[in-house]
């Protein structure tokens, strides 16, 4: 019982943490603190937070393994869904606030601007992951297919970082920091797999 209420508390903290950036953004937006061009600032911040949540979701598995806390894994879905929510808001504000539903201009942007093409691709690829995040969907797909589908994130995350890198005018340091973090997170997986494969062959070797 005690552990269950503790669990609820931990969940509440995670949820609050995930809601913090959007609350902070909304507060700044309505108090006029987003500067002279609030729409641009809002879109940029939502995108950056979407990317951050994607990276956090990718950090959970390595953390759970390194810290030997397998129960951390349960937060992957929460964080992943928040990542989708932030990216969805990022996308919606681009469509609705920046372009004001000018579909012709949006279509042209998607076709002609590689950074928009890439961002749009990443967004579309995120949709099936969000849709299949329910327990029922996991059951329906079966764990093998579900896991295979969700490996799409290994494509989506680099696309997201590339999208950010390509829109920057001159100072590429911020997107390069994200790229480094992503490389570490993906690199750990490669290293971990290689290690496991090696152990497997070693254990099969005759004594």
């Amino acid at each position: 019982m005690a552990s269950r209420s503790r669990d609820t508390l931990v969940y509440a903290v995670v949820w609050l943490a995930c809601f913090a950036p959007i609350s902070w953004l909304a507060w700044r937006l309505f108090s006029g603190e987003l500067g002279a061009n609030p729409i641009e600032a809002l879109i940029r911040q939502l995108g950056v937070w979407g990317l951050r949540f994607i990276l956090i979701s990718l950090a959970i598995t390595p953390l759970a393994r390194i810290l030997r806390r397998p129960r951390l894994i349960r937060f992957r879905r929460t964080v992943g869904l928040f990542a989708f929510a932030y990216v969805l808001l990022h996308w919606t504000s681009y469509i609705g606030l920046d372009q004001i539903f000018d579909w012709a201009a949006i279509g042209k942007d998607i076709l002609k601007r590689p950074f928009i093409t890439i961002g749009m691709t990443a967004f579309v690829l995120l949709i099936p992951l969000a849709v299949t995040s329910t327990n029922a969907a996991i059951r329906r797909l079966g764990p093998v297919r579900w896991r295979r589908l969700h490996r799409l994130i290994y494509l989506i995350a680099p696309l997201g970082v590339l999208h950010y890198y390509m829109l920057v005018k001159a100072d590429h340091r911020p997107p390069l920091i994200y790229a480094t973090v992503l490389a570490l997170l993906l690199g750990w997986r490669v290293w971990d797999r290689a290690g496991r494969a090696l152990r497997k062959t070693e254990s099969r070797a005759p004594a």
Binding site: G35, N37, I100, D102, A105, D109, R113, F115, K169, A170
Partner: protein, 309 residues
């Protein structure tokens, strides 16, 4: 009673917003050590009011609020974020200030700012400013037509271009400690562009001297070109016979050309230039050719502006 007609009044007859905003601060400061501090404060920290004559080149569009003009800036010498210049530009010392004039002219030399400005009458020019990033403002500049300034140095027949340089002083311009762009920031104009009556060398805006984040003490304003052409905190003016290299051209030649005229038909490779968001407005506006300054069109007669972007 003398009633002045509204058309006689310019922005300069009004107490500038930041000054009247400081009334209370001033009054409370009077009582205490504030007075002493106010007297010993470096001159550049406070903007001084400027008188200027109205100009027929001004637009009557609604002006962008002073707060937005002075807090939303691209001035990478002080950081790459829009609010960085307002936060980081306070340390820049703009006195003394000299401008080196060199190249193909009869009177090269290093001139004190006072001497550069002396004898010229200030004008107020309310211009549209269109940033290459797709936003725009309307700013009441105060300055001197660049042509008047340049003619004093007597460019020779060899002079075909004018090159400009921004101050390079990393100790006071923290953004210069990283090579985000190649420092010093450089810009340039063809001589006929520089001599065009719309081209202004600004020393103030909103009825007072420029704040550091807006390019104090001396900056260029070329209203029909994207904002980055309007180089800030100018310390060097050179008359050249070859087209000068510019900071953004060096940084990304396929994206930023020498001309960089506002042109809704020529997109930036990464975004459309067909429309813009006026700061303070929600709906986008159509971007106008030459930012609506059609009188410059003859400068580019016969040129393929897709090629010479």
């Amino acid at each position: 009673m003398l009633i002045r007609r509204a058309s006689d009044l310019t922005e300069n007859d009004v107490t500038p917003e930041p000054i009247y905003r400081r009334r209370r601060e001033f009054m409370t400061g009077l009582g205490a050590a504030g007075l002493l501090a106010a007297c010993s404060a470096p001159e550049e920290a406070a903007a001084a009011p400027l008188k200027a004559a109205a100009s027929r080149y001004s637009t009557n569009e609604a002006k962008t609020p002073f707060k937005d003009v002075t807090t939303y800036n691209n001035f990478y010498e002080f950081g790459v974020d829009k609010d960085d210049p307002a936060r980081n530009a306070g340390r820049l010392k703009t006195r003394p200030w000299t401008v080196k004039v060199d190249g193909h002219c009869a009177r090269p030399g290093t001139y004190n700012l006072e001497d550069v400005l002396k004898g010229h009458a200030l004008q107020e020019r309310i211009y549209r400013l269109r940033c290459v990033e797709g936003w725009s403002m309307v700013i009441p500049w105060i300055g001197i037509p660049l042509a008047d300034i340049l003619r004093r140095y007597q460019p020779t027949a060899k002079a075909r271009y004018v090159a400009f340089e921004t101050l390079h002083r990393p100790s006071e311009m923290p953004g210069q400690r990283r090579a985000v762009l190649q420092w010093p920031y450089r810009e340039g104009l063809r001589l006929d562009e520089a001599l065009h009556p719309l081209t202004l060398m600004a020393v103030g805006l909103y009825g007072q001297t420029l704040l550091n984040q807006n390019g104090a003490p001396l900056r260029l304003v070329v209203p029909w070109k994207y904002g980055f052409k309007s180089i800030k905190s100018v310390v060097r003016i050179s008359f050249t016979d070859t087209q000068p290299r510019t900071a953004w051209q060096v940084s990304a030649p396929q994206e930023y050309g020498f001309y960089s005229n506002v042109n809704p038909a020529v997109d930036h490779p990464r975004w459309s230039q067909a429309s813009e968001r006026r700061i303070g407005e929600f709906l986008r506006r159509k971007t106008l050719m030459f930012n609506g300054y059609d009188s410059v069109a003859p400068l580019y007669r016969g040129m393929d502006l897709k090629k010479f972007y």
